[in-house]
Symmetry: C2
């Protein structure tokens, strides 16, 4: 099919990065006409009991720190220098914590090929800057000057690594790139659909975490099924409205994909945003304390996004148009009574 074989680099090696490198490595072997066999993975070097993490990965084919117990493939090569890892690659898979994105991209500007090179973002969330919410794939495009697709779906990394059946969604503005990335990620157990709406996909990936806080508040209050499903549904409706209001061409169809309703359901059923919010309600203590205790000092995606979205909406005088997201923010950060999570959803018909 393609004249030259694609060389793949996975930029990131956490839990999800390692699981996805494993998928890429399988497909590199399966489709030798399309991909170079070797899949390079940038690993932020760490010392593990006196040994370098990259050496362990390259000897044992296992990321003992972030995806223990799983062979990620003998054709995955861990490289500690990100510029080295990317040199000559024409398919870049970004799967790192969002605080590293800009720094890493800046360092890659003069390394990547200017022709026949494309990226895909598996980065979670939106970037909040100057009271604006930015789409990571667009930020990567701006810095690197290459096209960037995105992947998101109802994907718990460890389940993908164990080859449990699941689905995911790739969004790409450039159809050929979408197909090429689909070939890189699609397997019998990781079923990928390709859509064009890369903004809708990334909006879903960020806002679902706010809705999961709502589901957690609901669980903390021991509310029943009717209330919880109302909150999840309103969340879906507000996610869609948010996308259509602020990101232009967001499609309704996107919400029927794995990146939409499926990821929302998974995140509201399990997931740490839900768990931490439930613990916050049950304990009555500040959310920052609960986060610190339960997450070892890390911040929840949902709480950060909740604050950012609230500032974004407040600046536009539009908090009233998103009553669920606003109620969640107020419960988490303004001491609003937790019950307002449901009370604020009432539509007050026929009041007189």
């Amino acid at each position: 099919m393609s004249a030259t074989k694609q060389r793949i680099t996975v930029i990131g090696s956490g839990n999800w990065g390692s699981a996805i490198a494993r998928v890429c490595a399988q497909n590199a072997i399966k489709h030798p006409d399309f991909f170079e066999r070797e899949v390079r993975m940038w690993v932020f070097e760490e010392d593990i009991d006196g040994k370098k993490l990259t050496d362990i990965i390259n000897e044992k084919h296992e990321n003992v720190k972030y995806l223990p117990g799983i062979n990620i493939g003998e054709n995955v090569v861990a490289i500690p220098d990100v510029r080295e890892a990317v040199k000559g690659s024409n398919m870049l898979v970004f799967v790192l914590p969002h605080q590293f994105v800009y720094r890493v991209c800046e360092s890659l500007k003069d390394v990547i090929p200017k022709e026949n090179c494309r990226a895909i973002s598996l980065i979670k969330g939106l970037d909040y800057k100057d009271n604006n919410l930015l789409i990571f794939s667009e930020e990567i495009e701006k810095i690197l000057g290459i096209h960037c697709a995105a992947l998101s779906g109802a994907n718990i990394a460890s389940e993908v690594a164990q080859e449990q059946f699941g689905e995911s969604t790739i969004a790409s503005r450039v159809p050929e790139d979408g197909l090429l990335f689909q070939r890189l990620f699609h397997t019998d157990y990781f079923d990928i659909n390709v859509i064009a709406d890369y903004r809708g996909l990334q909006v879903c990936g960020a806002l679902k975490n706010i809705v999961a806080l709502g589901a957690g508040i609901c669980d903390g209050l021991e509310y029943g099924n009717n209330t919880k499903s109302a909150i999840i549904r309103r969340g879906l409706v507000e996610m869609r409205k948010f996308g259509k209001s602020f990101f232009g061409d967001v499609h309704t169809e996107t919400f029927f994909e794995s990146c939409g309703v499926a990821d929302l359901i998974t995140t509201c059923a399990g997931g740490r945003n839900r768990k931490v919010a439930a613990a916050f309600i049950k304990s009555g203590r500040p959310i920052e304390e609960i986060e610190k205790e339960m997450l070892n000092g890390q911040k929840l995606q949902g709480t950060t996004t909740s604050q950012e979205v609230n500032h974004f909406l407040s600046a536009r005088n539009m908090t009233k148009d998103f009553p669920l997201m606003t109620a969640i923010y107020k419960v988490m950060y303004e001491n609003a009574p937790p019950e307002s999570i449901a009370l604020d959803l009432r539509t007050h018909k026929f009041k007189d």
Copy 2:
């Protein structure tokens, strides 16, 4: 507003019928300009420890058999004769098991007013007849010659009776009837939206039970979140495709309502369809046996609908177009390996 006050009869007095009669009774008091204070409820007479169920309800204002512990309102009057209960009423709320619908409607033909009378169906499922699937509100319209709306949503009866916050959807072809029924059912804890797509609403209410069997099979196999959310998502997609393929004017918007995605989520999270299917997989015994044991001889809505939908699709040579519903049927009734629930969803891209 309206010249004459509406007289309300709830036809049915099971768990959901009693909870909904309570809602109607509250709104009859709240909106005296619109509704007669008295709400009549047809009760299939039963003997409870030597006393008539209607007498108990009328004395204690409690349906001790089907909604114990809840005061349904002193303005609910239980009546054992359905023709008597309906005489002079102009808002009929049908909330009975579907096997009684035709018989009851036939008996009402010559009792109901021919003018200024309307009905709403809270009946679950679709009616299977001559290898066709019929919409209950349309069947009621045909027999009685009056317009019939429909109500469905993520509503567990006991939670509505306890006034836990939830949502529901009314679908009505006639906008004024939709508004009148909204006034009859909407409360601060039971938030009602009105749409026009009465067919889509009723298709959702029937097919969600099949998807819940799929979720149960998944749980029985102890599959993870990725697989389960993939099955729920595919279920939503197939419900929509089924509606659009066979019921004409079914709207995508309907699936964003409480009757759509919210009810699906609730049914797949709890609900007896899911539970029985999980027990079926774990035990390895015939589904009929499990149903008998767990449901006291009753049949599950989901298993019946699964069989009917499979016959319907087989007759049209279209089982392949609905791989999830077909896989569920085959696992339940044709000894297909339970794992096919996920295996049959694979889209087999790039096979060669």
